[in-house]
Subunit: 494 residues, 2 copies
């Protein structure tokens, strides 16, 4: 909206442009050079982005990154930018959790329709799920086949929706339903635990994971890394799988999926445990994990601690266990991928997890939400090339930030930090794949003038900063390049 | 919550502490050394801060910086930290606006009880105020003396509360009442305009300003700088004051107040105009302002543009006018104090106001909310020692950010930027003086371990980065030192 006929001082305008260009160069993707074809796609992308931003900036249309994801989702799905992002090969999803990667509608349609699937209502009218050959007596929550309830209902799709809702955080009034961070975390843990009754049944477990790979592939993601508890998977005979056996399911399913889909690169598992366990449990777990590193050289990537970080034990609490591999003679190889700094609380134990994660030589940092408040840690991250796994929708739904334009990773974007975009627990908030988080990152965390370069760089980062070995990375990047060319060409053909 | 009996690696702990210490040093106030007495006060302060943070971090007590100010206010007033901050000499308030500095209860009690004070209800049942010897016919909004309505009411204090509410943004349900940033800005402009009907009456105008000085002094602020429109002040004879005459009111009232209160340092005016005016109006205003610089050498400080920044014209739109003083031969002296980057919109015209403000050699930046998203601008701010005027409550109430722990100035705090804390328009949201904003800055923007040093540095910054001349600054700092010693000693005596 510049006035015309101004006698503009040319040298002023030149100085100004120099600063703007200099800032642009330091951003993620700022020094990429686009090909002629990419440049054309960029024009299509930026025309759409500009239109969508202008609608909000000038015309008051609600801006999706300023809305809660539950309210923003329909507008996102209508967005041309989102449609382009969906088609774009996005590389890998490096921060996902085992029991919240797959569309819950698939879980309802599949698991709850299987034989031997039971449910019960406890005293609080909350649903539990479990598979049994024949269920035990449980007076507080008497088991019946899901089909028993489904057959009684007048409307099966209403019933199935209800099952879906029972495992989802989605509500129409998120601000009222989840007044505090603690409240949404309690509900989050509750819905995950409920879904686990279905997921941890061995036949479901493998199918659930296979379906996750399928959904990410359909969203043009070619590789994933899964934070996995390796939980107590069970079958009808009362067999409880050991962590190694669960790891075998992951490996075998991954191998099978890649056989079925040769353009998919693969997947690796990062073993996790809860940051509420005793130090001695964590120590044994670390030793067992180090063994799995050699047992599953192509599919096991390292170790992490999970669970709500503020009430959880800080990394320092486990320092003995966590230093064990590196202080062992000879050192034991176990890369770390710590969740750290997933907090609004500066100067607390959670916040200082960032320092410990870096001192413990973490390969990447999960969230790192508080990182920009730490100047030394920022320098260490740059120097040690530790990628930050940014999960925009997760941070919003789990109430670290409302307007995603206030997400601190905007500063990491601006300063060209090693960042990857991921989805954390997409199923629980009704997202799918990476595209929703890429959209929020591109429209909310990055500025109006951030373009195809940042998207391309973020996609490449997700392979470069993955846990893949050098050779695997090279192959993955080749595959990504092929997909990228197809994306560029097909976008121009439309 | 550390476990005990851990075999802790001492060198690990030392490395860790080194990083934490290094980060602490770079923060605002990080390299101050406290006296023995200050250290004791610091212990009292930090015991209170720790208690209040633990209440929220561990026990779920709502954390005031995480609440909307309207909901947080009672808890803030109950806070021991707040009580200490109130008693603390805070130096100067450098970012205030002429018509929203003084408690609206005072305005109601004073102005609306004066002779010749009229009000009317327009078609939308909205109140207008004006003083008249005898009011004109105005069918769309028929004037009656305020006393006429007040005499009809059953309960005078309910009536006076209603008058107060009509000029305030305060509501019990801010999220519902103000769903968008534009919505709260429309209401903001409406209530300011309503109050102006009272404030711009000459006898009220001087008294209102005198009362502002009094309230800031009572809040242990010794100096203020006022962004002033120098509006059309009027009297009963139909006289409209010129900007120079309004400036004379400010000068004379300041001189009077300092005579009455010799420990108060004084005040300066920054002339403002609206960022919706034509470039030629701004150019004449700049020329007139430069003249006032020499007419009022001790009380006129410079120039700024105000109004909602996103829909407003960018600085670049006025570049001809704004470059006029520096490009004139010989250069004309007119310091700038630009509002810039008061936005969540990265990469827009508002956002780039930051670059223009710096290129135009601004003395300070009002808000600079978007600054951490600009790496070059950050460097320029450090190099040119441009102070950033941070107004936490304003940014929250006017909907740039919800949880003040997400305020981007946290990063400026962390990196030791030249920051001052101010209050912007405290009257409109029911704050008073600087203490509420200092509390939010100390508890919300600064970390758990930020202590008396940051408060002391922020207070000193507010004099160092003021528009005072070198000699005035020295005197102001001497006075502040005296007040600070009294604060330290009296706190220890309690
Ligand atoms: Zn996670
Ligand atoms: Zn202001």
């Amino acid at each position: 909206p510049l006035g015309i006929n101004m006698e503009m001082d040319n040298s002023y305008l030149q100085d100004r442009q120099k600063i703007i260009d200099k800032e642009y160069l330091t951003r993620i993707g700022g020094n990429l050079v686009l090909t002629h074809a990419e440049d054309k796609v960029n024009q299509i992308l930026m025309a759409a982005k500009d239109r969508e931003i202008k609608d909000s900036f000038y015309n008051g249309v609600p801006f999706p990154p300023n809305l809660h994801f539950f309210e923003a989702k329909p507008a996102i799905e209508n967005s041309t930018v989102f449609q382009l992002i969906k088609k774009m090969p996005k590389g890998g999803a490096l921060h996902l959790h085992d029991c919240s990667m797959t569309d819950l509608r698939w879980l309802v349609k599949t698991a709850t329709y299987m034989d031997n699937c039971y449910m019960c209502y406890d005293q609080n009218k909350k649903i539990n799920f479990h598979f049994f050959r024949s269920p035990p007596q449980q007076p507080g929550c008497p088991w019946h086949p899901v089909s028993f309830y489904r057959n009684q209902t007048a409307n099966v799709s209403v019933f199935d929706d209800m099952l879906y809702q029972s495992m989802s955080l989605e509500v129409t009034d998120p601000q009222t339903s989840y007044p505090t961070l603690d409240a949404v975390w309690r509900k989050f843990e509750e819905v995950l635990m409920r879904a686990n009754g279905l997921i941890n049944y061995a036949p479901v477990f493998a199918a659930y994971y296979y379906q996750a790979l399928k959904e990410f592939m359909e969203d043009n993601v070619q590789y994933i890394e899964v934070r996995a508890l390796l939980p107590e998977v069970y079958d009808l005979d009362g067999k409880i799988y050991t962590p190694v056996q669960v790891m075998e399911i992951y490996r075998n399913t991954t191998v099978k999926f890649v056989q079925d889909n040769p353009t998919f690169t693969g997947a690796k598992v990062i073993k996790t445990n809860l940051r509420f366990k005793t130090p001695s449990i964590i120590k044994s777990d670390i030793i067992a994990s180090a063994e799995m590193m050699s047992q599953f050289p192509d599919h096991f990537a390292g170790y992490d601690l999970v669970g709500q970080e503020d009430p959880g034990k800080p990394l320092l609490y486990y320092i003995d266990a966590l230093l064990y591999p590196s202080s062992h003679q000879p050192p034991i190889y176990l890369p770390y991928f710590f969740h750290a700094g997933e907090t609004d609380w500066e100067g607390t134990s959670t916040d200082y997890n960032l320092i410990d994660a870096l001192l413990l030589n973490t390969t990447r940092i999960g969230h790192g939400y508080a990182l920009p408040k730490h100047s030394e840690a920022m320098m260490m991250v740059q120097k040690q090339k530790v990628a930050i796994e940014v999960n925009p929708i997760s941070n919003q739904v789990l109430k670290l930030v409302d307007d995603l334009r206030n997400h601190p990773a905007a500063i990491l974007f601006e300063q060209g930090f090693p960042v990857v975009i991921s989805a954390d627990d997409p199923a629980v908030w009704g997202a799918k794949g990476l595209s929703y988080d890429f959209y929020e990152a591109f429209m909310g965390l990055a500025g109006r003038d951030a373009d195809l370069k940042i998207l391309k760089q973020l996609a490449m980062n997700s392979l470069t900063y993955s846990a893949m070995k050098t050779q695997e990375k090279a192959q993955a990047l080749d595959m990504w390049n092929t997909k990228w060319q197809i994306f560029i060409n097909s976008t121009l053909e439309e």
